[in-house]
């Protein structure tokens, strides 16, 4: 698993380093600024993230909360 993780990370780094990022003008960002392209969680996902963090041991790295609340039941 660790080997696979290292490979995926290496691929991602390689991809990003070989692909020099384009300097985008504001008018070229129309697609990137589309609300569906937002690099975050949807507002409607808010409570899904809550139940996932309560039912699964892993949490975080999703711009959600990393603590607080019990989720005891």
């Amino acid at each position: 698993m660790i080997k696979r993780l290292v490979s995926v990370t290496a691929c991602a780094v390689l991809m990003l380093s070989v692909t020099s990022c384009v300097h985008l003008k504001e008018y070229q960002k129309s697609r990137l600024n589309d609300s569906e392209m937002a690099l975050g969680n949807r507002k409607v996902e808010k409570n899904e993230l809550n139940f996932e963090s309560y039912r699964e041991a892993a949490s975080g790295a999703n711009a959600g909360k990393t603590g607080g609340g019990c989720g005891c039941n």
């Binding site: 691929c11 692909t19 990022c21 300097h23 990137l32 507002k43 041991a57 892993a58 790295a61």
Partner: protein, 429 residues
């Protein structure tokens, strides 16, 4: 693996060529309109600073219904019903004002209220006589000051979450800075949660030194027990979250995320039973510290004119022996520019914590023990569909309602836990 590497390099070269294709000189800079009677050449700058009064920028309302079934409740030691229903509602008011040039202030005031019913909660009392219902209230405040010229922002937030058996106070500092070309952004957030866990034990395990007879996680019992003098134990969570997002080209953007999370204090729950191999029961006992390391990656790609790929991967590891992978993909399809349908799928797996064992398999000599299936080894699948409507003239022609989202998902674990969640989000301007 060699094929994967070659594919990645090939994709990267394609992106590189694509980037050259898009770097022609921007001629839009030279299209400044000539002087006219309405805009004389030597006119003085009239864009002087005018403070903007406080106004409501947006109001967001999210409501969800969550229903769950399962047969491994931690309250009854890893056996018994896990039936839960939860109705969660939250309202966020975003207030905006400008009191200095290039300084935009946003104050988000939030209030959430949940009502739940958990069948297992009734069995905090051995006889099943405890109340199975409970509520949670969670207000929040967040102030962000943004430099409108640079896009950099700084802010702080405060939260509270209150349930009968669990109180949480939280605060954060957050900061974000854009790169010089505004195509990349670095963000950091420092958070602290300072919680109090009320020590409500199963009825047969209440320490003899305690006079409390309350036997419900929601604070009620059929026996009419007193609610006072229940001691609490602290739980502290500190986290540092970092992210970096980058626009790669006009269709592709990525984000790296990483958190460092440390927890200290009472990390067990006092009404979770554990049954040993000898048949005797006690309450769950877990270490008093935990360190978590989640690392995430997002990649969003605008494919064609109306299909978008939203992808997510997370690797997680902690010092309780849990390793986990999460992969998510969502494919919004824009039927019109203002209406989209978004099927999604999420796969999750985790290894078991060192301290987990099922019902009646822990040895009485174990130092730490839990039969909470949240810490067991399992895989999970979550799939569903979302709809988003955001017409320029307002949803249903009502200008005030600028966005409506509905989303349904079905979740299953290999522990036999299954749930359904349906959510509605409304955005008002």
């Amino acid at each position: 693996m060699r094929k994967v590497y070659l594919s990645v390099i090939g994709f990267s070269l394609l992106c590189r060529l694509n980037s050259y294709a898009q770097t022609r000189q921007d001629t839009s800079l030279y299209t400044k309109p000539a002087a006219s009677l309405y805009s004389p050449v030597n006119s003085t700058d009239t864009s002087t600073y005018n403070p903007r009064a406080l106004k409501i920028d947006e109001i967001d309302f999210v409501t969800s219904y969550y229903g769950q079934t399962g047969d491994h409740s931690a309250v009854t030691g890893g056996i018994g019903t896990e039936q839960v229903t939860d109705i969660a509602n939250s309202l966020t008011l975003n207030l905006v004002w400008q009191n200095k040039p290039q300084k935009k202030n946003t104050l988000a005031v939030g209030l959430g209220f949940d009502y739940h019913s958990a069948a297992s909660q009734a069995f905090v009392s051995k006889t099943g006589a405890s109340s199975p219902t409970g509520t949670r209230i969670y207000p929040s405040l967040d102030l962000t000051v943004e430099n409108t010229k640079t896009g950099n922002a700084f802010g702080l937030g405060a939260y509270y979450s209150g349930e009968y058996n669990y109180q949480s106070l939280g605060a954060d500092l957050h900061f974000s800075q854009k790169t010089a070309d505004k195509n990349g952004e670095f963000s950091a957030k420092l958070q602290g949660y300072f919680d109090q866990v009320k020590l409500i034990y199963p009825s047969e395990l209440i320490p003899t030194s305690t006079t409390t007879v309350v036997t419900s996680a929601s604070g009620t019992s059929s026996g009419g027990g007193t609610h006072a003098n229940i001691p609490s134990s602290p739980r502290t969570t500190l986290s540092a979250s970092f992210s970096y997002s980058q626009m790669i080209n006009s269709r592709l953007q990525v984000m790296f995320l990483g958190d460092l999370v440390t927890q200290h204090g009472y990390l067990s729950l006092p009404f979770h039973r554990v049954y040993f191999t000898n048949g005797k029961d006690t309450v769950e006992h877990l270490p008093s510290s935990r360190f978590k390391l989640p690392l995430g990656f997002r990649l969003n790609y605008f494919l064609g004119d109306n299909i978008i790929l939203r992808t997510y991967y997370r690797y997680y590891q902690d010092n309780w022996g849990i390793k986990s992978n999460t992969v998510g993909i969502e494919v919004p399809y824009k039927i019109t520019p203002f209406f989209s349908i978004s099927p999604f799928y999420r796969y999750y797996n985790q290894s078991a914590a060192k301290y987990f064992a099922p019902y009646e398999t822990h040895s009485p000599t174990d130092e730490y023990y839990t039969s909470n299936y949240e810490y067991s080894k399992f895989n999970a699948n979550f799939f569903g569909v979302g709809f988003r409507v955001a017409p320029p003239k307002g949803v249903f022609g009502w200008q005030g309602l600028h966005e409506l989202e509905i989303r349904y998902g079905h979740y299953t674990q290999t522990t036999d836990l299954a749930s359904d969640v349906v959510s509605l989000s409304l955005g008002f301007k």
